[in-house]
Amino acid sequence: MKHLFWRIWHWLDDRIGINALLKPLVDHPVPPRGLWTYVFGSATLFMFVLQVVTGVALSLLYQPSSANAYHSLEFITYQAKFGNILRSIHYYGASAMLILVGLHMIRTYITASYKYPREMNWISGVFLLLFTIFMGFTGQLLRWDSNGVWSSVVAAQQLGRVPLVGKYLARLLLGGDTIGGASLTRFFSYHVFIIPAFIFIFIALHLWLVFRHGISELPKAGRPVDPKTYRSWYEEYLKDHAVPFWPNAVWRDVMFSSVVVILIILFAWLRGAPQLTTQPNVTYIHTSPSPDWYMVPFFALFALMPHKIESAAMTIGPLLTIILLFILPFVARKGERSPIRRPWAMFGVICVIVFVMSLLIVGLKHPWSADFSAKPVPLAAIHPAHPDSTVIAGSQLFYARGCEYCHRVNGYGGKAGPDLSAVGMRLSGQELTIRIVNGGGNMPAYGGILTKDDLQTLVGFLQAQK
């Protein structure tokens, strides 16, 4: 029996050439690692495979049409056997892929593996990063609840700021003059056919380049890359130090990727996929669009950057980032690779990480938004302890006129504006009046909105808060 299997295998191998194709890959010598920091690239690849497999499975259950997508999402989430788990795995797989592609890039930058002769490894990687972000974004739209619909409007608005052609780009993204029947079909095509096709091509190129130029050796201080001698040095280095790719180098990749997959399944099982919000209906306006976490830093940036530079920043920012990433391996193509000898590069990467993480954290709290769910301040929470009727009327106006959407009094109200729990100690009645009538900073001018009596009552209430 065993003999028969071997004969079949040998026949197949002879006719197909499996060994001839894979043996050189499996056996090719690679530098020893001894570190777990080289596992992020392969894990990103594993995630892509996971996304393709779960994505294909989801496509069996999904209706890619503007009218029906949401209903099929409800079907997947609430009715299909294992449907919600499948959706969750795809969601956490996307999150993991975005995190891992980021970690892989940071590691490559820290060890300066983009230097000669691996410039095109880096550039093909930058393309893959951009494709991955675009996949994350379009994937979130395919959920096609109110969040998905409004996110596509937000994206169209961002494209609209591109000089000259912005309007056309926005129309192209939406599939017409308004969000409509063509919108989802196009996002589906981008997410399922067009971008994945590019990802397949660029992964093939990226892997071929890793094989062609060899995995970069661990950097060592005082061992700079010299393009004149690097290739011959690398060959000599491999002769003395190399280990075979399989299994000596790859076992860590397999372990790490497997742990990531297990974690994803655990997350999917314990936490589930993001809740569907409301139906895709742009005439229903009581919705607060918020992107998935991986788009939150961008979302936060748009709230926090100076408004005047925003249009320029929306176009120039991404363009400049992409240009910088592309030219990096050419402006720093040789020299030291060790992070110890590149303190400014390390400072830069730390700044970028801190910047993005801060935006993410502040974006999740989004303190700039009015809190539409604010509850009226109860009498027990206002000053003085036994308020007179004017103060009570003022506290009611404070809620009814929407002040509380942005201002907080003793724990009640939003956080977009200053906390007014003790405003009576900071500002006089006159100062309060001027502020309310004229507005200022990020506060609307209420001069044309409040009656004189209302204004006085409100100021009376605020003066009592001390």
Partner: protein, 173 residues
């Protein structure tokens, strides 16, 4: 060089069999690819090739909207696909300024397009995304919006309030 001019078999301008086959293969393949690309690219840029029609849509009777009120109305888009579902319709904030005059604002914030809500008590339009605020006349009161709320054209026809359909307002630079 002179010799070459007299000897066609080694002249520079002479077309060898190899050159000929290369050129004809690339030309024919290129031509077929170019022809095939026409409908493919047309599908890709289809939204830009659409006819831009506009229609007046009735959103209610004049009496439905008290003077001074701001109401959410919705109407069918200019040319919705049969499979657009709920997205065949858009919404607008309709404000009745006085007896005979209406003004209609897009619901989209000019910052990034999120749906602004009319807050009756505050007498303001407020955006839930990045803190954009507008006064009742659509001018910017606070936050990042670079422009006032865009307006739809509105008319009264036989006692009916009608809005003219328009593309989703996109803020350009």
């Amino acid at each position: 060089m002179k010799e070459n001019e007299h000897n066609p078999s080694s002249g520079r301008d002479e077309l060898t069999r190899k050159d000929f086959l290369t050129r004809i293969s690339l030309s024919v393949a290129g031509l077929s690819a170019a022809v095939m690309a026409v409908p493919v690219i047309s599908a890709l840029v289809a939204p830009l090739l659409q006819r831009k029609a506009t229609f007046w849509r009735t959103v209610g009777r004049v009496d439905d909207f008290p003077v001074g009120s701001t109401s959410l109305v919705n109407f069918e888009n200019a040319d919705p696909e049969p499979y657009a579902g709920m997205l065949a319709r858009s919404a607008a904030w309709l404000r009745r300024e006085n007896e005979g005059s209406f003004i209609a604002f897009a619901i989209n914030c000019t910052h990034l397009g999120c749906p602004v809500r009319w807050e009756e008590g505050a007498d303001l339009f407020m955006c839930p995304c990045h803190g954009g605020v507008y006064y009742r006349d659509g001018t910017v009161a606070a936050g990042p919006p670079p422009r006032p709320l865009p307006e739809y054209r509105v008319r009264v026809n036989n006692g009916q309030v009608q809005l003219q359909t328009a593309p989703l307002p996109i803020t350009t630079t």
